[in-house]
Amino acid sequence: MKKAKVATLWLDGCSGCHMSILDLDEGIASVADKADIVYGPLVDAQEFPEDVDVTLVEGAVSSQDDYEKIKHVRECTRLLVALGDCAVTGNVPAMRNSIPVKKLLERIYVQGVDERPRIPTDGVPPLLKRAVPLHEVVKVDLFVPGCPPPAAAIGYVLRELLDGRVPDLSAKVKFG
């Protein structure tokens, strides 16, 4: 049987959701029996493949880079999963949303230094006005809240999706 293709994507988050995937511990091996992990920070791939079955996305959409990436990934993915509170609601990255971007950057890079006060502009992507959850930018097929979602819930989601069922997450996840 042909293995399914699973990808993971890390936008504006803390990588805690990816760590929770690793918290499957030896269960990682059983996921690998059913699916190839074809893209993401856990593996070494260059391009996002064109025909991915499931993509787990951690983090909010916060920079121009994030925006372009999630648009592209959506086009290449059959089932897009918002993994964790940042992807589902914006969560901590969205705490900056009431502050104008210029003011935020000035606080850090102008007032917050002893030498060379200046806002970085060269080779770094501009921030969007607001950090937003995935569903404000693309269609999301499944929401898995949690900060991070427990490894058991992630394992369950993957098993159900790979077996062609819609996971019932009630009682398995919570916000925070």
Partner: protein, 473 residues
């Protein structure tokens, strides 16, 4: 003047890029590491109650959230002007040891072992922890088991493995259960055996990496790490010791509240990660390295028997000061052993099961600094509050920040070795990746998870025409 730009772009999460600029004779003029994520914790936490800070700032990083929990809680202790109960201090250090073990296991086994075991030129589709699992199942299983052990120490104490809320201003919020202590103690012999056989294996293959060790990332720099009163390794407490490139102590026992006399910060035009520097020397020459290599270069000893034997051998083999950044890996394994031994000592301290675990107080000081050794180096949280306890100002210096200038220098060194002006050599990409990875940079404390750093480097002519292109394999 002819200007050629080489732009290197990570293809994973876009959080880090590298660019290399050439002069008109085709020689490297400068290199830059771009960290492309910023979230603004120092600004958006203004107005929040100080006691929310541990939970909020833990979300800076899911790899070592315990570091932020602890540094933040210590800053809050200072705002409350409390000395936390003995048991609470022991429990916090125990939690920290669990985190050192899991984070160092992640870095060595999940992140670097694919390079070290499968080879830098192996098939990229298999060059990951699953590939290691296939080819070297025993080593991969050791890595997974060791990380799990560290994570279970954290969840045993604090309920959750990631982002627990157990560490609070004034101490911790639940005592240690004897059953948990016994379970950790029962797991320690196997965890120690894993680290010891990994060290043995690693020392056996060191000779295969002579070129990397000698040529890459060995530019002289200062080193910094926390030490106790006797100059021994300290992860939870202690003051900063700075040594110069020759190993002379230039500043010692710098207390958290005095950090700003010794550490300044500069903005870079091309990165969202600021560049701390050693203030007495100034920017940009005040380069120092922190993390496992920095620590083992500044301390007198580790203070536990097995780690000290390894520490002695480390310096016997490599010298009093070990300059090659490749040896971050070696130092990391020694520290994992220290973490396990220290855990054992803490668990045998009768006070570890005490019930007095939290000091209660309000705002007694309008400023507080918390400082610890995170797995990747010194972490500083500095807060100011108003009389109601609302944050009015915050400054965070994360571990990878301290290494920012040193990582840039290492990349520069590799680039100068490999760039010939017109064509890029294959070896450069792998070496750049390997060097960046050796530092185990946590760019999530701006970026980076547990993956490789795939690069896409483009050599552009003065008008932007593509001269050459390389992708990491």
């Amino acid at each position: 003047m002819r200007k050629i730009m080489i732009d290197a772009v990570t293809r994973i999460e876009g959080h880090a890029k590298i660019s290399i600029q050439l002069d008109d004779s085709g020689q490297v003029a400068s290199t830059q590491l771009h960290i492309t994520q910023v979230r603004g914790f120092e600004k958006f936490t203004e107005g929040r109650p100080y006691y929310e800070m541990p939970s909020i700032t833990a979300r800076i990083c899911g790899i070592c959230p315990v570091s932020h929990l602890l540094a933040s809680s210590k800053a809050c202790d200072a705002i409350m002007s409390v000395s936390i109960p003995e048991t609470a201090a022991l429990l916090r250090e125990l939690l920290h040891c669990g985190q050192f073990v899991q984070s160092h296991a992640l870095s060595f086994f999940h992140l670097s072992a694919p390079d070290l075991l499968l080879g830098m030129d192996s098939d990229p589709a298999r060059r990951n922890v699953l590939g290691v699992l296939e080819k070297y199942p025993d080593i991969a299983r050791d890595g997974i088991a060791l990380r799990k052990f560290g994570q279970e120490v954290i969840s045993g104490l604090a309920k959750e493995r990631i982002h627990p809320s157990w560490t609070v201003p004034g101490g911790v919020n639940a005592p240690l259960q004897p059953a948990v202590r016994d379970k950790i103690l029962a797991g320690l012999p196997e965890a120690k055996a894993i680290v010891r056989r990994t060290l043995k294996f690693f020392k056996g293959v060191l000779d295969q990496f002579k070129e990397e060790i000698e040529n890459f990332g060995n530019a002289p720099s200062m080193y910094a790490g926390l030490v106790d009163a006797a100059g021994k390794l300290q992860l939870y407490d202690g003051g900063i010791r700075f040594k110069d490139a020759e190993g002379k102590i230039v500043a010692d026992h710098v207390a958290a509240r005095d950090y700003h006399n010794f550490i300044g910060e500069a903005s870079l035009t091309n990165s969202y990660l600021k560049a701390p520097y050693y203030r007495p020397i100034g920017f940009p020459d005040g380069v120092y390295r922190v993390g496992p290599l920095g620590r083992l270069n500044v301390v007198k000893s580790c203070g536990t028997p097995l780690a000290d034997a390894e520490f002695a051998e480390f310096h016997q083999r490599l010298g009093k000061i070990v300059p090659s950044s490749f040896h971050f890996h070696y130092a990391r394994l020694i520290e994992a052993l220290y973490g396990l031994e220290r855990m054992e000592a803490l668990l045998h301290d009768p006070a570890i099961l005490g019930k007095q675990i939290r000091a209660h107080a309000g705002v007694n000081c309008l400023e507080g600094v918390g400082m610890i050794e995170a797995p990747r180096g010194i972490l500083i949280h500095h807060y100011k509050v108003n009389e109601e306890g609302a944050i009015t100002w915050a400054n965070l210096i994360v571990a990878t920040g301290h290494n920012n200038l040193a990582i840039n220098r290492s990349i520069d060194q590799v680039a100068r070795h490999f760039i010939d002006g017109k064509h890029l050599q294959e070896g450069m990409l792998n070496r750049v990746s390997a060097i960046v990875r050796a530092y185990d940079p946590c760019f999530s404390c701006s970026t980076h998870a547990s993956g490789q750093v795939p690069l896409h480097i483009r050599l552009l002519g003065p008008e932007g025409s593509l001269l050459d292109e390389l992708r990491s394999q």
